[in-house]
Amino acid sequence: MYALNFNEETCHACPTNDCLIKCQYIDISREAALDEIIKIARGEDSYVLRDCVTCYACEEYCPMGNHPFYLIVKRQEDMNIPPVPRPLIQRAVNTGIPFRGAPVIYEINGPALNMGAFSELMPLIHGRLFEGLSVISTDSRKMFHYFCQLMYLHYGRSSVIEERLPGVIDTIAKHKPTQLVCFHDECYGAYASYCPAMGIDVPFEPVHLFEYLYNRLMELEDLIKPVNLKVAYQRPCSSRLSPDKHLFVNRIFELIGAANVKREFVDENALCCAGAIQGQRREGSRKRAAELQRKNIEDMKKAGADVCVFNCPACLQTLGRMVSENGIKPVYMSDLCRLAIGEKPSGWR
């Protein structure tokens, strides 16, 4: 099977133990932080395993690339301390099982856009930004054949990821993509972060959607007219798996004339949408999620945002309504980019 590329010695050598020090959901001292991470490394019980809200941020915070979050998830499974109740796990695990027939394979031999488990968002894939790009996983009945499985990190189920992901990679590979632009940030994280961490082979080059969009915009620079919007960015949990691509957020905003409002909860300090937190077993989870969402949106409002730019469809599903009820328009990053080149995404007013 696969083994997580984690080394206990690396934690001892770590200058900061930022994985736990910077955690927004645990209050801990430097000494205690080292103790707890070593307990976890050794398969001993630690309250961190129970209190972790699965926001993925420690993957970013760790200065040593030692994958503390992937380790936590593994231990949660090994020691039967799942963050969510059992029926939720069953529900999630079964959702990912494709049951409507085999996917239709067509060879691309070039760059491809993978919609993953978001085939229903095909209506977003229009216009010059996506011109000439082949798309896979366009049929929502078959989309779980292309599902990267990383969602199960929220359920303490690395084993499901390890079991299914190689098959998914195989299906994608049959399409012969040279580069794989990942519509969903989490797919990118799966192929660029999780797979290398687990030693799973990926026979194509994953491309971050925002990097793709930025490059495309540069090609179409003549068409860009400043959007003149004040924007807030909803940074998803999965973005923590690709912190090296986060810079494209500001690059795109600058390129298209969107003013990224000054927020407290931004970049490393960003708040996740809390969609995964609401149903957790940890005491007070329902209220915790509501409070996080309130704080997040208050922060956007205080900073004067007109628009909230979403990366992840799950964030949009969780926060979209609340955002618009607070007078801020929710929009996908790709739609914002389309606006910038004079196109009219459906639903935009």
Binding site: V84, R86, P87, R91, R281, E283, R286
Partner: protein, 456 residues
């Protein structure tokens, strides 16, 4: 021309009377698995007086009469088992009065669920009624006639418990009223007058309801549904018991189904919550999810799935297309809540044997005094084999209901036999007396509740 036809035309008019093949064909069907039976005439009257004249005619000529509302009982209750005249009551669809202070509505018998929901939303937004899960074309009268339950069943009980008064045309044609309306007061109560609740649950045999007064309830500003899920059916009764104890919820339903596949084997709960402010809503949610169900969440046995604002009303159901065949029927039962686990397991087993994706639902009535537990079996109308399987599954389920100590709700012919076999003989005798007293010529929906059988 056939003299009965002419008489009906004289009573109503040319357009709303027919004995042509097309009307006879369509009106012979129940939408479930019941075998169609042809009526001899179809008539759609416009007033209680017309209904009265039709019944007098039917008595004179000894022709059976079957009253029809929405025709959505899915138990064959308006299939004319012995032919005769089907009376389509849906033209009598006036909303006569909505009394805000005493919170009731007076309706004609043909008013549909959606019509009332829409009317209240537009004209009396602080009032609502208990709306069942039937398609919106179902009539209010039909539903309370069969002891239906709606989305306020948990606080307030069966829809038939929410009646303030009735206007009924007796089988022999007299029009009479029950409740405070009968003494000339408004239609606001049916107590404390002597009990005459013999028009509900009888499928029209004791008389045709032409007007009714139904209780309305506060419609709070914010209404929505929260969801919870467990993977162990044994936990369902205690959860329902605890939820009803809070007195914080409106509708509470537990259900399990094979489709979509992720829900297979799980028991989901939907809990409707209403509030006039965010403060009230949060307070109720705290009591329900954090205080009452918090232990299940912490122990990992149950999960909170979130709260969605806004109730979908009228309620929409897509079960009929499960087998891509436009058909389904269900056994509804009134069961003790503690029987949920066995009901679920039996439903699974019977469904699997008949190759039907299982669907079971339990709606809490009152303070968990009982639940309406339904087993739904889909079929493809163009495939007789699936119809046969559905019918067999339904009969097996009827048997199970009795075995498990429940009561079949709105039973068809098969279920009625099971009940009559077990019925207290003195009660049965009384039913016979009432039936013969009110309907001496035996014209009212014959074939149903046949207490006059030799077995009786």
């Amino acid at each position: 021309m056939d003299s009965t036809l002419q008489s009906l035309i004289d009573i109503v008019d040319q357009i709303h009377v027919s004995n042509r093949q097309e009307e006879l064909f369509i009106y012979s069907f129940d939408l479930g698995t019941a075998e169609p039976r042809r009526p001899d005439y179809v008539v759609s009257p416009d007033s209680a007086e017309q209904v009265q004249k039709i019944l007098r005619l039917a008595n004179r000529k000894k022709i059976p009469v079957v009253p029809l509302g929405g025709g959505l009982s899915l138990a064959g209750l308006a299939v004319p088992l012995h032919g005769g005249i089907i009376i389509d009551l849906k033209r009598m669809d006036r909303i006569i009065e909505v009394n805000e202070k005493a919170r009731y509505a007076v309706l004609e018998c043909g008013v549909s669920q959606a019509q009332l929901t829409s009317y209240l939303e537009r004209h009396h937004p602080h009032l609502t009624h208990s709306e069942p899960g039937a398609p919106p074309a179902a009539t209010i009268a039909g539903n309370l006639m069969i002891h239906g339950q709606g989305d306020l069943a948990q606080p307030y009980g069966f829809n038939s418990d929410l009646v303030n008064g009735l206007e009924v045309v007796l089988p022999t044609g007299e029009i009479c009223r029950f409740g405070s309306c009968a003494i000339g007061s408004g239609w606001f109560t049916n107590h404390p007058l002597p009990d005459m609740n013999i028009f509900l649950g009888w499928y029209g045999i004791t008389g045709i309801i032409t007007k009714l007064s139904i209780r309305l309830f506060p419609a709070k500003r914010l209404r929505g549904t929260g969801q919870f899920v467990v993977d162990n059916e044994e936990l369902v009764p205690e959860i329902l018991f605890k939820l009803t104890h809070t007195q914080m919820a409106e509708d509470i339903i537990a259900y399990s189904r094979a489709i979509p596949p992720f829900s297979d084997g799980l028991q989901h709960f939907t809990v409707n919550i209403a509030a006039d402010s965010e403060k009230e809503l949060e307070w109720k949610q705290e009591i329900i999810w954090d205080d009452t169900l918090g232990d299940y969440i912490r122990n990992g046995d149950g999960a909170y799935l979130g709260f969605t604002a806004g109730l979908e009303r009228p309620q929409i159901s897509k079960t009929s297309d499960y087998k891509k065949g436009g058909g389904f029927e269900y056994v509804g039962s009134i069961m003790p809540v503690e029987k949920y686990p066995e009901c679920y397991r039996t439903g699974r087993e019977i469904s699997e044997r008949h190759n039907i994706p299982y669907t079971v639902t339990g709606r809490c009535i009152g303070a968990a005094h009982s639940m309406m537990f339904a087993w739904t079996y889909a079929f493809n109308r163009a495939d007789p084999d699936t119809i046969r399987h559905a019918r067999e599954a339904l009969h097996e389920t009827d048997d199970i209901v009795m075995k498990l100590g429940g009561v079949i709700w709105k039973p068809g012919i098969y279920g009625q036999k099971l009940i009559l076999e077990r019925l207290d003989p003195v009660t049965r005798e009384l039913m016979k007396k009432i039936r013969n007293l009110l309907d001496p010529n035996g014209i009212m929906n014959p074939g149903n509740w046949e207490v006059n059988d030799a077995n009786g």
